[in-house]
């Protein structure tokens, strides 16, 4: 449990620290101004995590006061869930009103009473820990509902959500989005020859290979269904998409999974269809998927283990 104490009075800081330490809260960080406190928190978020569980914030401070600091914290995505207890010597209704409006969860009046301080800190920390637990469960649930159980990459549901979001954003920014459909060549023969367990292992390896060619928040690799995979590139044109498709094709080929009944070659390969479009009111994402499917069909017709493209805007 880590507690940040922001107070301009050194006597207040020292007192709070001693009282909390005595109760067993060992990780107490002291800041002599709101600016210093925010600076500490920002350094933590810059490292990607914030370990502070509670902030005790003095209300009246020179320069930036507790209310202003509270408002700033509530605007930060990573910091907004840290509970803030306002500490104030002026328990005027107007001040408390402002403190709660700014997002404080509770308040303690000065002069501090040890029992009150500890009771409020304990109850807010308990709430925080329950909130953290709930968030972790929600994250786990989200993971379970959006990942494919076998391969561990995004499932169809996440794919649909991602395409929808990319479509809307593309429409707003008039930006091209690309879609690749990938299909394992003659997978039925593989299953018939090696069995379904080998088939599952093959799907997992192919999924990993396809996943390895995407990166960043604008790209998603997903299992579309059966032995079909998809890659969404939310800000790439057809030329880039074809390059990504070729990298995926090579990545799968270099897995070197033996496939003795394939008419294409000695190992597992994929055919890839790529399509691009600038989303508009006149088209839908279904047309993009259809176009990528058509390109995939061409790749199959032209001998498999290759990438074909389909440009909707320049038919």
């Amino acid at each position: 449990m880590s507690i940040l104490v922001v107070d301009d009075s050194s006597d207040s800081r020292a007192l709070i620290k001693v009282l909390l330490k005595e109760k067993g809260y060992s990780d107490i960080i002291l800041a002599e101004s709101a600016a210093k406190g925010l600076e500490f928190l920002m350094t933590q978020t810059a490292e990607g995590r914030c370990k502070v569980d509670l902030i005790l914030m003095d209300l009246v401070m020179p320069d930036m006061d507790g209310i202003e600091a509270c408002l700033k914290l509530k605007q930060d995505e990573m910091l907004k869930d840290i509970p803030i207890i306002m500490v104030t010597a002026s328990a005027e209704v107007e001040n408390l009103d402002r403190a709660f409006a700014a997002g404080a969860i509770d308040f303690i009046t000065k002069p501090l009473k040890k029992i009150e301080l500890l009771a409020r800190v304990r109850s807010v920390l308990k709430l925080k820990s329950e909130m953290d637990g709930r968030k972790a469960r929600e994250e786990e649930l989200r993971r379970l509902t959006s990942l494919d159980g076998l391969t561990g990459i995004a499932n169809r549901r996440w794919f649909d959500e991602f395409v929808d979001a990319a479509w809307r954003q593309g429409m707003r920014n008039k930006q091209v989005i690309s879609l690749l459909m990938l299909d394992i060549d003659c997978f039925k023969f593989f299953n018939d020859n090696y069995g379904h367990q080998a088939g599952d292992e093959c799907l997992k390896s192919v999924a990993r290979a396809i996943q390895s060619v995407v990166s960043g928040p604008f790209e998603l690799a997903a299992r579309y269904g059966g032995e079909e995979f998809a890659i969404v590139l939310a800000s790439s044109n057809l030329k880039n998409a074809a390059e990504v498709g070729e990298r995926a094709r090579l990545a799968v080929e270099s897995l070197n999974i033996p496939h003795s009944h394939s008419p294409v070659g000695a190992c597992i390969t994929v055919s890839v269809g790529a399509a691009s479009v600038v989303p508009s009111m006149e088209t839908t994402s279904k047309e993009l998927i259809k176009a990528a499917d058509d390109a995939l069909y061409s790749a199959k017709q032209n001998g498999r283990n290759r990438v074909c493209t389909y440009d909707i805007n320049n038919k």
Binding site: D11, S12, V18
Partner: protein, 98 residues
Amino acid sequence: MKARVKVDQELADLIPGFMDNRQSDISCLTTALQQGDFETIRVIGHTLKGIGGGYGFSAITDIGAAIEQAAKEQDIPKASRLTEALKNYLENVEIVYE
């Protein structure tokens, strides 16, 4: 008159520093009173109000609140009397740790 104050044993290490800070407050108050600097007087009064009772010195909280009020009312004689009262209190207080 000796005022006896009970202070938590766990705060014993903080008391010397606390007392030093009150001496600085008194010199700041004295200067501010001479200059008619009500803002400084008010801030010190507010701080005293906030911390006194937390350490066990509820009298310091009371005097602080009165100083803050006197500053708001721009009442120099009253603020001077209160500063004097704070000084006397600090000179005569007897601390018992328990």
